[in-house]
């Protein structure tokens, strides 16, 4: 039987920044059930982290309501905090603290007994490969080690629900892959529900069972990555011709966008459509000299939804979320 782990209705957050009112999150509805791994995908400043901060009781919503792990975020924030794990964007270990000490302190924060905390800390140190760093201070760890410690801190009390805010941002590709391996393993072993934000397309695509796309403070799509790509983007086919005249003539027959001698067209079932296009255009005297077929990505989905590429948006380093002065 599945239980509702997160339910949010009309969740809204408004900030005042430099005399202006900014709606960071606009009436977001969410439903996440027990055991799901859901990715919140969107560019920097889309409102992902603000939503997460409301769900984790760090920020009070301006409007709307939400129940997280069975507790109302407004009426029982302490209940929410007891039941969830949270890994924020920053490194959560105190810089002068030793790794093992910080895990022990985290256990006592959650009311765990001394023996239970020590056993659990040892378990996490082993499973997250922190053994050689356990007696080192947090400030001496590498970026990947710090992030693994963050995950361990978020999991010490075996939460029912784990929130991860941009878990792999700033890590090199090897550390990212390593971190994800750990998260997937831990989830397989414990069945913990995971709700994460990311602006990495591959991360959401490969790991999440469900992707919620957020833009300008609103959820604009919510489905599996496969279904989103299938329904919104379609396969990308590029056809190259001898000259621009042939390309224009081809585009007038099959549609698509022209760029010099190349026509790009979107079609469902692209692997079957491609030979058909080549055959039909050849019959019309338009010879295709080169062709490619590419499966859609979540970036294509975002492009179809917003007219913008998430890759370009993601390049903006600064989060557009203003200094939080709640109204």
């Amino acid at each position: 039987m599945t239980n509702q782990m997160i339910t949010a209705r009309g969740l809204t957050k408004t900030f005042r920044s430099k005399g202006q009112t900014v709606e960071a999150v606009r009436s977001v509805d969410l439903d996440v059930v027990d055991g799901e791994l859901v990715a919140f995908l969107g560019p920097n400043g889309a409102g992902k982290s603000t939503t997460l901060r409301m769900l984790t009781t760090l920020l009070p919503p301006t409007e709307g309501e939400a129940t997280v792990a069975g507790c109302d975020i407004r009426r029982d924030p302490a209940g929410v905090r007891r039941r969830i794990g949270y890994v924020g964007q920053g490194n959560s270990g105190g810089h002068t603290q030793r790794v093992r000490d910080e895990l022990h302190a985290q256990g006592s924060f959650y009311g765990m007994g001394r023996r239970e905390t020590r056993l659990r800390a040892a378990e996490l140190i082993e499973s997250l490969e922190l053994g050689q760093s356990a007696n080192r201070t947090v400030q001496s760890l590498s970026g990947g080690q710090k992030r693994r410690l963050d995950i361990a801190l978020g999991l010490i009390h075996r939460p029912e629900l784990l929130f991860l805010d941009e878990p792999s941002t700033g890590l090199d590709p090897h550390s990212r892959a390593n971190l994800w391996e750990h998260i997937v393993d831990l989830r397989r072993e414990t069945g913990t529900t995971i709700f994460l934000t990311t602006h990495y397309l591959d991360e959401a695509d490969q790991l999440a069972e469900r992707v919620m796309v957020m833009d300008h403070g609103a959820v604009i799509a919510d489905d599996t990555a496969w279904a989103l790509k299938e329904s919104l983007a379609g396969d990308r086919i590029t056809l190259e011709f001898e000259g621009a005249t042939d390309a224009a003539a081809a585009a007038s027959r099959i549609g698509g966008e022209i760029s010099g001698r190349v026509v790009t067209v979107t079609a469902r079932g692209g692997d079957r459509a491609l030979p058909r296009f080549i055959r039909d255009l050849g019959d019309a005297g338009l010879e295709v000299v080169a062709a490619t077929h590419r499966q859609p990505t979540l970036d294509d989905v975002f492009l179809a939804l917003t007219g913008r590429s998430l890759r370009d948006e993601g390049a903006h380093a600064a989060d557009a979320t203003p200094e939080p002065v709640a109204v």
Partner: protein
Amino acid sequence: MSTTTSLETSARPTGFARDTATVFMRESRPLVRDPFSVIFSLVQPLVFLGLFGPLLVGAAGGDVAGTLPWFVPGILVMVALFGTASTGANLLFEMQTGSHERTLVAPLSRSALLVGRALKEVVPLTIQGTIVVLVAVPFGFSVDTLGLIAGLAVLAVFGIGFGALSYSLALACRNRDWMFWMVHQTLLFPLMILSGMLLPLEDGPDWMRVAAAVNPLSYLVGAERALLAGDVGDPAVLGGILAAVATCAIGVFVGVRSMRRAS
């Protein structure tokens, strides 16, 4: 589900006292692991003691043994003032890295997050104060043991309050380090000079004496001089206790309020 079961047994409801103890333990742990950090932060007061002290002796025209009972208590207050005033910088750093955010999401009382941190100030302050006195003893400084214990206790009360104010400043500055250090530097030196900690204010202009009269540190310095000399009945002791308690009450009140509003 097994995770739910373990959660019910592990995540017991916590209370203010337990949370405060937990936060205190976490904050104190780096001091235990690396006690030299406490010693290193003694450099400034010891420099004052070693370099400023002889000048003061020369200026006053007295001898070292006669000047130390006046000067050492001032250095003790300096240790309390500088140590606790800078402690907010640790919180500032933790706010910027994400460590503070983690504690806000944990089921800890917000008040305990502040009080536990502020109480930690007592540990380095007591150790440092004792070392300063011990360093001065071979130079002819004689101290009343009970008076020293009482003096350190009064300083501890003040330190908790001043540390809490430093944390409040950090919470207000958020990611603006420059603002924290600007306020810190702007307030600290006038407070120090206008307390008569290093130089007597009796010969200063009237406005300085008026400023000293509203500076709680002046009363603290007076009380420490009386207590370390073993003069527990001196009215200055009561003044110092009141100044320390007032600083503590205001500091903890402001600090708890700031922490409760933190996000």
